[in-house]
Symmetry: C3
Subunit: 164 residues, 3 copies
């Protein structure tokens, strides 16, 4: 893999490890993360340190991928999707001091292969989504999602099973 | 109408057809689309090829307008609104190859005149929204919305009728 | 406090009053607003005129803070959070003319100290959120939230009380 660093006006890429034929569009902020072969990253996307994206993925515009997220191969992530890695985020500690990396535990989120995450979905921290699952647009995913199901709603519930 | 091309640091405008007195703010990505007289486009907005926006519209920040969306005149589109043009988006085909434009059918969405779409609303593909309708903030619109109604919720349901 | 003006490629800061040790990341659009000591503002954030943010706050990426919003000290605002200041936004008046500042009343939103607003939450206009409250990810907040409670859902309802 190749390491990208790009601080030109429309990119803020810092130590981004990319495979072959990766395409990154304008106005992207990504750092210390990994993006597999042929994957595409849309405009206004942020990808944080330690996040990994597999091969043949589409990460659509306005999406936020945080530390602790591991995305499989062939995954579609819609527009305006947000991941979370902290169940009870706070800006400050009980003593009023600002929280730092030392003050929280990063929850890990694992997205299987060929998953499709609909536009505007929100995926809470510590979630596993199984292969081929489809997350409906606007869903708030608060529990693990098994493989081969469609979930939707807030909170997201199983809507039907995929027979393929 | 005039054709805008602008690749200065804060704009990525490629073949954007604009009417008179159109205002486009910073950090906007728009290509092969059309924006009518006096309409305004906020920061962090993406407008895709083939989308059309009427006259006297406000497109607020962080909003995503995709291919297949046709917006009437005098429409308010709130912040962080997302449109969709694909009912079952996938990154890859069954054989594992990445999908291209040839692999999906673009659903068409039509927004009537003087519609108001609240902040953070998500509008699924293939939807028609009638004139004067109001879409509540945070709604997920999964069905057509008639003229002169207010809808809200996930999924959005009719909340009341507008008597004007 | 110091006044920041910065029109370099990755910033659009116009008359931003900041306290000590404020950090503002790339691709931020902020104007005629105030940000207190040690607060951080993430990428792809817009902060409008007249908004005030207290000390020791974290404003995460993709968030929109509008005119009329007053945020206390030690507040965590997640990613992709949107505030609202207009209950019935319209692009045009009844006579078809575009609305201007003179055509609407800005609703005021007040966020107490040490509040935590989860990712993708939407906060309607005219809302008060009490100290220490937690707003769940993906919530749509349509009513005032008392101090020391957790709310979630669309519309957001009290989920439990915080005993600290």
């Amino acid at each position: 893999m190749e390491i990208l660093n790009d601080s030109s006006p429309k990119r803020s890429l810092n130590n981004v490890k990319v495979g072959e034929d990766v395409r990154i569009f304008d106005f992207v902020n990504a750092y210390h993360c990994e993006i597999g072969d042929r994957s595409k990253v849309g405009t206004f996307v942020e990808i944080q340190k330690g996040a990994t994206i597999g091969k043949d993925c589409k990460i659509s515009s306005h999406t936020f991928i945080c530390e602790g997220v591991k995305i499989g191969d062939g995954v579609f992530v819609g527009h305006n999707v947000s991941f979370i890695n902290d169940l009870y985020p706070r800006a400050v500690n009980a003593d009023g001091s600002m929280q730092t990396d030392a003050d929280w535990h990063v929850e890990t989120t694992e997205i299987g292969n060929r998953v499709s995450i609909g536009t505007s979905a929100t995926i809470l921290g510590g979630i596993k989504i199984g292969d081929n699952a489809i997350i409906g647009a606007g869903s708030v995913v608060t529990k693990d999602v098994p493989a081969n199901v469609i979930v939707k709603g807030n909170p997201a519930k199983v809507s039907r099973y995929i027979n393929e």
